[in-house]
């Protein structure tokens, strides 16, 4: 009978517990938050931290190792790698955040409608999504960006679109579970039009799972956009984007100029790592079952 006892917790107490729970993220999630905040500050205020202009080249200082003047050394064009790595944070966030927002804006309504309506519409949408899933996303992204024209905007749109099935599926699964629930039936009995049921009754009760995924999906977007740039698609080299920088640095690895690729690589790893840690932390908070099993 323990549930009936916890049931008797008064609400201010429960809310207080929840707030305390939020502030007490697990140490790993807290580390994730610290990493993200650091990168966020770098991205927003990169001008304060950069020691040089990220795209001006110093022809006399090509491929110099780390030094007091150039902390991370210079690249093949004689550009300052430290400044470029810092500036690259703008691209990391600038691609990931809008891509996830687009994915959420497409995926959630599609999932809501498909799950609630069911039938042929649902079948068709889900088969399309299955089709998208069996393709390795990187190849698909590559093909679509190459076909639609190589611009930053296209990369963002394509990533957002390719990632929308993740959110659509999550929301659809929750909607399917809730569609025949008592409160939805009681909403129908009250005379709610479909749009009210979707947005006032189903959306607030299904969105949590999707929101829990955002950080992890942002990590995915950072990774894929860097990969695209590494493959030379979308963002092109001298743009201070980490993937593009690694691509440029890769050719110097063999000749011993390791710093060109290593520093953007470390930045990329840290950002993806931080986002994943945060994502795990959010899921732990939003999903009580996961919390209980720990």
């Amino acid at each position: 009978m323990p549930p009936s006892v916890t049931h008797q917790l008064t609400w201010p107490r429960r809310t207080a517990n929840r707030v305390r729970g939020l502030s007490r993220l697990s140490p790993t999630a807290a580390a994730g938050v610290v990493i993200i905040v650091c990168f966020g500050v770098l991205a927003l205020f990169s001008e304060w931290f950069m020691t040089h202009d990220p795209v001006s080249s110093y022809p006399d200082r090509i491929l110099q190792g780390p030094s007091y003047e150039h902390w991370f050394g210079t690249d093949g064009n004689g550009m300052d790698i430290f400044s470029r790595v810092i500036y690259g944070a703008k691209f990391g966030f600038g691609i990931a955040i809008p891509a996830v927002i687009i994915a959420v804006l497409i995926g959630i309504p599609v999932g809501l409608i498909a799950g609630y309506r069911g039938g042929a519409l649902d079948e068709i949408l889900m088969r399309i999504f299955d089709g998208l899933r069996v393709f390795p996303s990187i190849i698909l992204a590559l093909a679509v960006v190459a076909a639609t024209g190589q611009s930053l905007l296209n990369v963002v749109l394509v990533l957002g679109f390719l990632d929308s099935p993740v959110f659509a599926r999550l929301v659809r699964a929750e909607v399917l579970a809730l569609r025949s629930s008592n409160f939805v039936e009681s909403a129908i009995a009250a005379g709610n039009p479909t749009w009210r049921i979707l947005f006032f009754h189903l959306l607030p009760n299904t969105i949590q799972g999707a929101m829990a995924q955002t950080a992890v999906r942002a990590a995915w977007a950072v990774r894929i956009s860097a990969t695209l740039a590494f493959l030379g698609i979308g963002i092109q080299a001298p743009t201070p984007e980490w993937g593009a920088m690694i691509r440029q640095g890769a050719e110097f690895m063999v000749t011993g100029q390791w710093w060109v690729a290593i520093f953007p690589g470390i930045a990329l790893i840290f950002l993806v790592f931080g986002l994943n840690l945060l994502g795990d932390g959010i899921q732990d908070i939003l999903d009580p079952r996961r919390r209980a099993s720990k």
Binding site: M1, P2, S4, V5, Q8, T10, N17, R20, R24
Partner: protein
């Protein structure tokens, strides 16, 4: 000697918050109960009053965060609360039988029902399989399972709710227990099936001279199938006595409320019905626990009420029991 003698049994839920702040819900507060052989005692009360918890505390079936923190449970003079787990295992299923709610989820889904009966017999006795088998079939017959030889090899999922409940009763009775605890044995069953099960239980209790505790929220079952009744409120037994005495002359205000709110006694259009919440177990009031819901409550009720024995023999935990 009483078959079962519960004295001042206290069970709490102990929670540790995320910041290790310890909170206790006082779920059972000084439960006292005596039971003799051949007697059927009903425990009634609302959700959260501690009915099932009492049963689980007796049998040592509590799971954290629930924990017995005081009192004693004497079964045939033996203190159950201080027994080791192995010794308890020897008693549970042998001398104490239990029938629980949700019969369908209480059977092992991967074992034929006959084998489950045989297993429980062989766990506690050294009898040969053939002996256990014939005993199982005899018991299935006794609980009214038609065609027991054939049903012996049935799977739990093939049984209806009523049949599953019969199998559970058969399991509880396999080793001829001296004490039977039935926790909501007919909740979730249809009334016509409930009637079958209750008649069966009553008949078996008389036949085997078992002491029996029936936990229920249905006062109709108590009125017609129990000898005595214990009324629980917020983890306390507020009144205990024979069914006749308590139904005719309830002594505790809460018992009166409870009886008055049965559909039979409820007078609609008569304003001023009870209601209200059970008290917060984390933060119980000083003194009488039902003071917030009692129309008689006065300043006196801020002190713990005495347990008063009326001339009928029923015990009442109330300051005003004699008035």
């Amino acid at each position: 000697m009483n078959l079962l003698k519960i004295t001042d049994l206290q069970t709490h839920f102990v929670f540790h918050d995320i910041d290790n702040y310890r909170r206790e819900a006082r779920a059972l507060n000084k439960v006292n109960l005596n039971l003799n052989r051949g007697e059927i005692v009903g425990i009634v009360g609302e959700t959260g009053a501690g009915k099932s918890l009492t049963a689980q505390s007796i049998c040592g079936l509590l799971r954290p965060p629930a924990k017995v923190v005081g009192g004693s449970v004497l079964f045939l003079g033996k203190e159950l609360l201080s027994l080791a787990e192995e010794d308890l295992n020897d008693i549970r299923g042998a001398e104490i039988g239990m029938v629980v709610q949700n019969p369908k989820s209480s059977l092992d889904p991967l074992t034929r029902i006959g084998d489950q009966l045989v297993r429980i017999h062989q766990t506690h006795t050294a009898s040969a399989i053939s002996v256990a088998r014939s005993k199982a079939i005899a018991m299935m017959h006794a609980v009214g399972i038609p065609d027991p030889e054939k049903r012996f090899s049935a799977w739990p999922h093939e049984l209806s709710g009523g049949m599953a409940q019969r199998v559970l009763i058969a399991m509880a009775l396999m080793n001829e227990p001296k004490l039977l605890i039935a926790d909501e044995p007919t909740t979730g069953l249809d009334v016509t099936v409930q009637a079958q099960i209750l008649e069966l239980l009553k008949d078996l209790v008389r036949r085997f001279e078992m002491g029996t505790i029936i936990i229920t929220h249905d006062l109709g079952i108590v009125a017609h199938y129990c000898d005595k009744v214990a009324v629980m409120f917020a983890g306390e037994i507020v009144e205990y006595g024979t069914v006749t005495d308590i139904f005719r002359r309830p002594g505790h205000p809460y018992t009166k409320q409870l009886l008055a709110s049965t559909p039979e006694k409820l007078k609609l259009n008569e304003a001023g019905s009870l209601g209200g919440q059970p008290p917060d177990l984390f933060n119980l009031p000083e003194g009488c626990l039902s003071q917030d819901r009692c129309s008689l409550a006065s300043d006196q009720c801020r002190t713990p009420p005495p347990v008063i024995t009326l001339e009928t023999g029923q015990t009442v935990r109330c300051h005003f029991a004699l008035q």
